[in-house]
Amino acid sequence: MSETPSISREDVAHLAKLARIDLPPESLDHYAEQLAVILGAVAQVSEVAADDVPATSHPLPLVNVFREDVVRGSLTAEEALSGAPSVESDRFRVPRILDEE
């Protein structure tokens, strides 16, 4: 039986920072509890998987699926930029990357 995984407020704050999600401090405990439940659900897999079952990253037992190095049509700049919130000089315009220091 696996233990219920724990996740701390600090873990949640760190993940939120990495994911650029602005979580108010008072919500950290709330998400910590929820994430622990999700981790607990996923952890059930380890109860089934014995040591002789290797971890996998893909559901199908396939290897070496390759594509020939042949050019296929690209989008036009207009098409590529059509979903962009902001465009300038045929480029994606993105907000300031670094905060003022």
């Binding site: 070496n64 699926v65 220091e101």
Partner: protein, 508 residues
């Protein structure tokens, strides 16, 4: 911030007397495949912005990547040429980060399962004790994809600091990259900068020989990051390292490593500590400055890429690729050196200047090896350095140089005129023959105009003429010089001298 005050540095000979340098080099090479790593978009350099993009490389929802077979083959060939082991099974991984140069918010790379690992490359460096071979260990070579190109708008210098916003072109995003990482390079002592340069030079030759990339450092298809640290002695533990980026020429690699050593030595000597950080090399000022772009602790949360299946190179395929590898550049060099009959030192000069292929091609086109070396390793390397470009970027080809040498061989040009023809070619005036015609450059071999010029020069300096007549043959030089000047260097100086002495009835 590029105007930030220069850091203190310690003279290089004092650095190497007090400290032992340790290096690590990361080279990114853009493969010359027709298409990107995971989609069929073309990879041409210099296309209009965002015209070589598709749902896959833009990271649009629902799009699925597919691995470029040629890129995998190139990766394996590179690994084999670097004496690496080839993984029998490996995967791609997602490297997650938030920076708009990748529209997916992650870069598809390889993490703990690189396709090539544990190799080496031997490089030769000229030392005080003659040529010495340093073995540079290769930790790994893995597959990944290039990022898009961001240009920072607003602010003073186009740098990310102080920018108001940025513009992104994703044409480059997804172009296959191979990242080649060395093991720590120790035991170089004062030759660390030379070893770094020699390694990248040798690596570039290998990649060029494999035909997997155009390896143009100035266009970014070969990029080097240099990790440098100092420690008090070879048996001390490693010092804190810095990683210098944006080093985009062979010459800069040597300069950047040397500079970073002198800067770190100054910090350490003053009792300070080295901060582990990314630093930017500035070609113009020859210094590095701190780059704080990734001041967030890096936490890329790598995990295996679920949209791609593993790669398991068939050993028979790997062996076939091994058997088809081109001649090792070191062997190729040894063969050329023997054919040209030149010393290690002279050969090193050719290799170091990056002129090997150019000299070889020029010789293959009929030029004498000494003449080909004289132009490429001497004059043209000097000009390339002055212009801060690679030799191959100069607007002159081996065919041009071979043609100039052929004209010299025919006696149509002398050395001085040949120089002018080369200048003309470099100035974009056309082929050597066109420059000769347009500038009216030709050795004056008809004695008539020479005699006229001689008479004029003699009339100009009757006293010199008298000296020569009286037997002071040494004075003839002044008249010969005047004639050469009058004929704009187009005369054969030896012939002028002969005619002059004949004219004055004097013999040598």
């Amino acid at each position: 911030m590029s105007t930030s005050t220069a850091d203190a540095v310690v003279p290089y000979d004092e650095v190497v007397a007090e400290f032992d340098p340790v290096l690590g080099l990361e080279v990114h090479v853009e493969l010359g495949t027709n298409t990107k790593m995971f989609c069929g978009c073309p990879t041409e350099f210099g296309a209009e912005p965002n015209t070589q993009v598709c749902p896959v490389c833009l990271g649009l929802p629902g799009s699925m990547p597919a691995v470029n077979a040629t890129a995998v083959e190139s990766a394996i060939r590179i690994g084999l040429a670097l004496n690496c082991k080839i993984a029998t099974w490996c995967r791609f991984a997602r490297k997650n980060y938030f920076y708009p140069d990748m529209p997916k918010n992650f870069q598809t790379s390889q993490y703990d399962e690189p396709i090539c690992y544990d190799g080496y490359l031997d490089v030769d460096v000229e030392t005080d004790e003659g040529m010495k071979t340093f073995r540079v260990g290769i930790e790994r070579a893995h597959m990944e994809e290039d990022t898009g190109k961001t240009s920072h708008q607003g602010g003073a210098t186009g740098r990310i600091h102080g920018a108001d916003y940025s513009l992104v072109d994703y044409n480059r995003a997804g172009i296959p990259l191979i990242e080649i990482v060395t093991k720590t390079i120790e035991g170089t002592g004062k030759y660390a900068p030379e070893v770094a340069r020699a390694y990248v030079t040798a690596l570039r030759e290998i990649l060029r020989g494999l035909g997997v990339s155009d390896v143009k450092m100035e266009q970014g298809s070969l990029r080097c990051d240099a990790n440098v640290s100092l420690r008090p002695s070879p048996d001390a533990k490693f010092g804190t390292r810095t990683e210098t980026k944006n080093v985009n020429s062979l010459r800069s690699i040597e300069r950047a490593v040397r500079y970073e050593m002198t800067r770190q030595a100054a910090v350490l000597r003053a009792g300070g500590t080295i901060i582990q950080e990314t630093r930017h090399w500035h070609e113009d000022t020859g210094i590095t400055t701190s780059g704080r772009e990734k001041s967030d602790a890096e936490d890329y949360r790598y995990f295996p890429e679920p949209d791609l299946v593993p790669i398991a190179p068939d050993p028979a395929w790997v062996e076939k690729l091994r058997s088809e590898l081109p001649e090792n550049p070191a062997v190729y060099q040894a063969r050329l050196q023997a054919a040209w009959g030149i010393s290690d030192f002279d050969m090193m000069a050719v290799v170091r200047s990056g002129a090997l292929d150019l000299v070889a091609e020029t010789v293959a086109l009929g030029a004498d090896q000494a003449a080909a070396r004289k132009w490429w390793v001497g004059e043209l390397t000097r000009i390339a350095n002055d212009r801060a470009v690679e030799l191959t970027e100069l607007p002159i080809t081996p065919a041009d140089v071979a043609r100039v040498e052929a004209l010299v061989g025919e006696g149509a040009l002398n050395d001085k005129l040949a120089r002018q023809v080369i200048e003309g070619v470099l100035a974009g005036e056309g082929s050597p023959d066109e420059v000769v015609a347009a500038r009216g450059l030709a050795v004056v071999s008809d004695d008539g105009p020479l005699l006229e010029a001689i008479d004029a020069a003699l009339a100009e300096s009757p006293d010199v003429a008298e000296k020569i007549r009286s037997g002071k043959v040494a004075a003839a030089g002044a008249i010969v010089g005047a004639v050469m000047k009058a004929t704009r260097g187009q005369a054969d100086a030896g012939r002028v001298r002969e005619l002059l002495l004949e004219r004055l009835g004097v013999s040598e």
